[in-house]
Structures are given as C-alpha cells and as structure tokens.
Symmetry: C2
Subunit: 263 residues, 2 copies
C-alpha cells in the first residue's frame, strides 16, 4: 500500500508541515520506501518533484520540506511498490493534459485487472496498474466530454461513476485534480480535515513537530488536507466512507458527503 | 530570446557543469530572468524541475546544480519572456504523452502566428506561442502516425518537415525528445559538441569553473551537449546551419548534417 496526501486552499499555501509528516512514512515510521512524488499547482501551472529514493532520505524531499512552495492544490504520494518495478516512470502522481488543463492522479491500492481494459487516447509510460487506471479514467472523460462539461456537478458525477467502476477490481483510493478541483475518492482509507479560523495548534504523528497555524495564516484562509491516515494527533479528521467521493475547491468541500457515491 | 540546453549520453550522465553555466545566463551574465526549467530522462521515466524565479537566484536551481542527477537525455531552458506572462505554465520545457512516451520540448525564438493554427488533440495550458507550436507539432505527428512509425528516419523526416513549416513564422530553434532521441532544429542559433575519449579539460564561459572530464568519465562514455551558444571557451563547438536538424541518440549524432533539411 501507498500513502496519499492532498491539499486544496483558497490562498496559495505551503504544505511543508504535512509533507514532513508524510515523508517520515517513506522509510522511517512507514515502509513506503519505493519513491515519492508531489505536484504543486499555481493556477493552471504546476511544478512536479519526483524521486525513486525513499522519501525519508531524499535530497529532493529535503528541498521540498524546507522551501515553502505556496500553491492552490497539491497531490503527493509515497510508494510501496506492488505493481511495476521501482523506477521513476512508476512514481505517482501521473499526469496528462485534457482540455488544456494539466490533470494529476495518485492512487493507493491495487486494481491489476484494469491492465486488460483497452485504452484509446492516453497510453501508460510506466508499467503500473495505477497509471493504466488513470489513462482509462481520462479516456472515458474525454470520450464523453470532448469539451469540458457545463457544470461541476456533471463532471464530478462522471468521475465518481468511473471510480465506482474501478473500485471492484481491488482497492482504489485516489486523489485527482484538473488544476481547479481536487477529487478525493475513498475505497478503504482516506481522511480529511478543513482548517480555518479560529486556527489552533497541531502536532505531527510521525515526527516531533508542532505548528501553531495562527502564526502561519490570516483570518480568511481555508485549507483542506486529505491523507490516507490522519497526519496529526490533536485534530479531528473525517474519514471518507467506502465508495464516497468528495470534491474540494478553494479549500472547501463543494460536493458534500453522500452526494457522489457511484453512478 | 531564450537559451536552450540539451544533452544526450550513452550512459547516465549528470549535467551539473553545463547547467551551472546556463543558469548564470539566467539573471547574472545574461538577461534570461523570467524562469527556467529542466527535464531529466531515465529510460522512459522523467523528472522535471521548473521555477518562475531567475535561474541565478533559484533555490531549485541550486539543488539541481549540486545534486548530480544522472540521466540519458536532458532538455533545459531559461526564459526571457516575450510571449505569455512570467508564470509557471509558460515555463519550458513543455511536455505531452504520445504513444506511451513522454515528449518534452523547448523553444528559442518567436512564432506568434502559430497561435492561429488549429489544434485537435493537444491544447496549450499556458499562453505562449511556443507551447502552441509544440501542441501543433505533436498533433501533426499523431495524425500522421497513430502508432510509432517503423523507422527512426521516417520519424525524423516528419519532425524536420514540421519544423520547416514553423520556422518561416519567425525564429524557431528547438530541442525535442521522445525519451529515446534528441531532435535539435536550428533556425538562427544552436551549437553542439560531442565529448568522448580522450577526454580533456573545459572551462565555462559564464562562471569561473573548469572541469577535467577525465576524472568524471570512463573510456566508453559518449556525451553530446547542445546549446544556443557554446558554453565553454576551450572546446570546439559545431554550429547547426539555418534549417538544419540533427538527431542524437546515446550521445551520438545519428542523423548527420545535411540529411534533414526540410520536407
């Protein structure tokens, strides 16, 4: 299994604190030593960092921990290889362009049988079932919507339906973004928290590090963090239910629970 | 104008030396202060670093200079904005997937009228003429070859022909790779050098730094570097001619001069 981390914020926000916790699970407090990756969105633009080295030891991860890259949306992933060898082309997040938007995807779980599903527009570069699932998912969206659908609800329903088709193949927890929305779909494990005023303190589970968000934020900031397992000990995280998708935009859940549970 | 840097090598090789020279032109010895980017290929996989900050001051560029990422193919670019604002989505290299390969592209020059040319499969994410030209080029390759062509010569001829269509729009020097070949097309400025045994010394034009390649290489290494302008003072670089394309693979020119000058 792998670990996922996502963020959606209403003002460009750095993810140094959460990323520090996640990276500890990459070889120190967790067994996820087979590479890691992160993508930061700045409007329509993005910056991606990947490394096949364990997150806990990676020089690139050190840079990302220390250098506060402020962004609107983040997706990160640390890998424990189960399908596809340890190699940079098998490192999440995977990305493709659709409608002039840069889409990124990270997956936790296994859906091996998806590799038999035919693909049309998008082809995998590496050998993971995860990248194949992503290519299939975007293929389906593209075939149904050669141009972006008129409403967010329509797009969200389409994606939730596709996730519900993938999930019975095994285990399928995922984070997906089109640079505007963060789609979080849970099969077994995904938790989220929205931080907003009044801000409090938080302490990482996986490292001896606390933060006082009061000092790091302004009153109007709204930031949601999504992770495979809660990253902090002193905050209340919400678990996504099996088969549930939540859509976040500008730091908030815009598709509340219950609304997007399959086709 | 911008500056391009490319590398093709027969063994994974770091580009720290050349990159150090290039980054000096990003705000110190040159005016190219509007961001920079680099992509490293490891087989079919890739790692990309981008920064809208000037290369000479960028923290990410410092990491790339000091951390020897060994790779088979590199494309890098420092930008002096002329089309499209300074923003991460307008920072080269641009990339797309075709045939399950990750293609990267960087451009020096201006081809503004290309923005009127229709696109089908690939759409730009940012607002540069360069990304539009890249989308058009890959669109054409994809339309002509839904599957990879049988021979390298066929693919190379196709790409040289497309470059020859773009070049009359303005200035069009470019580096392009499909993770196996490095395609270098010159309009006004592009120079290259192949380093192999017996290796000698080289001194950077733009920084007080010399290197003895004997100490950094083994006898069988073959490495080609391509750049807008020669990066060293004590080596003999070859200028590409106007309208000429050279294709490099495993460090060597596989399509020699003269063979690929247009459709």
């Amino acid at each position: 299994m792998c670990e996922l981390l996502g963020m959606s914020a209403n003002v460009p926000t750095d993810i140094c604190f959460s990323f520090t916790g996640l990276m500890q699970r990459g070889g120190n407090t967790g067994p996820h030593k087979d590479g890691w990756g992160i993508v930061f969105y700045h409007g329509r633009g993005y910056r991606e960092f990947k490394d096949p080295d364990p997150g806990a030891q990676s020089q690139v991860a050190q840079l990302v921990r220390k250098y506060p890259i402020k962004s609107d949306i983040v997706i990160s992933h640390i890998r424990q290889a189960n399908s596809g060898r340890v190699a940079i082309e098998n490192t999440h997040p995977f990305s493709r362009e659709l409608w002039g938007r840069h889409w990124s995807f990270a997956h936790n779980g296994q859906v091996k049988a998806v590799k038999k599903w035919p693909l049309k527009f998008y082809q995998p570069i590496g050998s993971t079932d995860s990248e194949h699932a992503f290519c299939w998912l975007l293929d389906q969206v593209r075939a149904r919507y050669p141009k972006p659908p008129a409403s967010r609800t329509e797009l969200s329903r389409c994606i939730a339906g596709l996730c519900a088709q993938l999930q019975p193949l095994g285990v399928f927890n995922m984070l997906l973004t089109d640079s505007s929305y963060l789609f979080a779909y849970a099969d077994t494990d995904l938790a989220w928290i929205t931080r907003k005023a009044p801000f409090g303190q938080a302490s990482l589970k996986d490292a001896d590090l606390s933060i006082d968000f009061c000092e790091e934020t302004t009153a109007g900031d709204v930031v949601t963090v999504v992770a495979t397992r809660p990253l902090t000990t002193d905050e209340e995280w919400h678990q996504l239910r099996h088969g549930q998708m939540i859509v976040f935009q500008n730091g908030k859940a815009v598709k509340p629970r219950g609304e997007l549970t399959g086709p």
